[in-house]
């Protein structure tokens, strides 16, 4: 995929509406102008900016313009973009996360996007999933930090483990969560699963005493109700 990008300072250009010029311009020129207009109304990704390459002489006009070609983002770019975006999102709620956790979270996110471990066909962390995760963390405020994973669709997964008992929450776009918990009772394993909006996650988990996984003191009691 190739597209033509122009410097952002040109956004204030006052060229007449394209439709008025359609009889005077070739179809190719119209297409190019439309591509430029589209770009000027979109934000470039952090990663794509790293790979843009200047093309001398392309579309020279009376004012100095810089034209660049954007190529299909590489794997490294996609991972970089995903990481940059979610870290920026985190910074917006940084006041609610202690510094130690923020550092730990960033290290975990980096680890999840390690290009050396990346598998073909997987999606990087989706912003909407991460937004749901942040809302959930602010709601349940876990004392114990979760181990993190990533689904093939780019949904963040948080996992708490106490002995052989497990709580796993997948954070979906649209403020939804899917969760499953398993606990051993008298040699058998009870499992419960739910699908709730993040706004009702605390309420949904409440019958299963989630503090057993989320707080240190509760772990010592070991057996939830």
């Amino acid at each position: 995929m190739t597209s033509i990008l122009f410097d952002r300072q040109r956004q204030g250009s006052t060229s007449p509406p394209l439709q008025m010029l359609k009889d005077a311009l070739s179809k190719e020129t119209m297409n190019l102008a439309e591509a430029i207009r589209t770009f000027l109304h979109s934000d470039p990704s952090p990663g794509s900016l790293l790979q843009e390459q200047p093309i001398a002489g392309l579309m020279q006009t009376s004012t100095t313009r810089t034209a660049r070609v954007s190529v299909e983002p590489s794997l490294h770019e996609r991972l970089f973009d995903a990481l940059a975006e979610v870290k920026i999102m985190t910074s917006k709620v940084a006041m609610h996360l202690d510094k130690q956790w923020r550092q730990k979270l960033f290290a975990q996110l980096d680890s999840l996007h390690d290009p050396d471990e990346w598998e073909e066909g997987e999606e990087p962390l989706q912003q909407e999933s991460f937004a749901t995760f942040l809302k959930a963390m602010l709601a349940i405020n876990p004392e114990r930090r979760p181990g993190l994973g990533l689904s093939s669709l780019g949904h963040l997964i948080a996992a708490w483990t106490t002995g052989s008992d497990r709580l796993t929450i997948e954070f979906l776009p649209g403020d939804r969560t899917r969760w499953v918990l398993a606990r051993a009772v008298s040699g058998e394993t009870d499992r419960f699963a739910g699908d709730t909006p993040v706004s009702r996650l605390v309420e949904g988990l409440a019958p299963y005493r989630p503090d057993y996984w989320l707080r240190y003191a509760e772990q010592q009691d070991h057996q939830p109700a």
Binding site: E117, R144, T168, A193
Partner: protein, 155 residues
Amino acid sequence: MPSSKITNLPDDNRVMRHVGWNKLRRDADNDDKVIGFLPEAFQLREGEDSLSVRWIEYYTDPDDAARIRRCVLEERAARKIGAKSAFGIGRVGRIKQVCKTHGASIRIVHEPKDNEPSHSGIRRLPKDDLVLLDALASEAFTEMVLNSDIPTEAI
């Protein structure tokens, strides 16, 4: 093994599933040490109709470690896998039993591919049943082999 005939794997045989780094269960309290598998490690992807596994007993080496190693080498040759990834091993009969307990009647069949003679598939696996996926992760695939523990040299 003939590829044209569907072969159900024997219940006392084992299969091995590659699990990428992002689908390993980690303990954040213990320096993110790997402690198992996430349920999503056994979830079908969009467009998949069977869960890809390798049939360990396809190989007939007398040494069990050699059979496992051959499966790992086959996986590595088939696609790029990360150094920190792992493999879950489960017995066929146990996997079927766990699925049946959760209402799923699965089949585990030999599906050899070019240069992947042990490739097999778990068919009829429900896609989004988190309870079942969690049970597979903790009660069916009960053994873990780290990719980093398997030598790179051919046998």
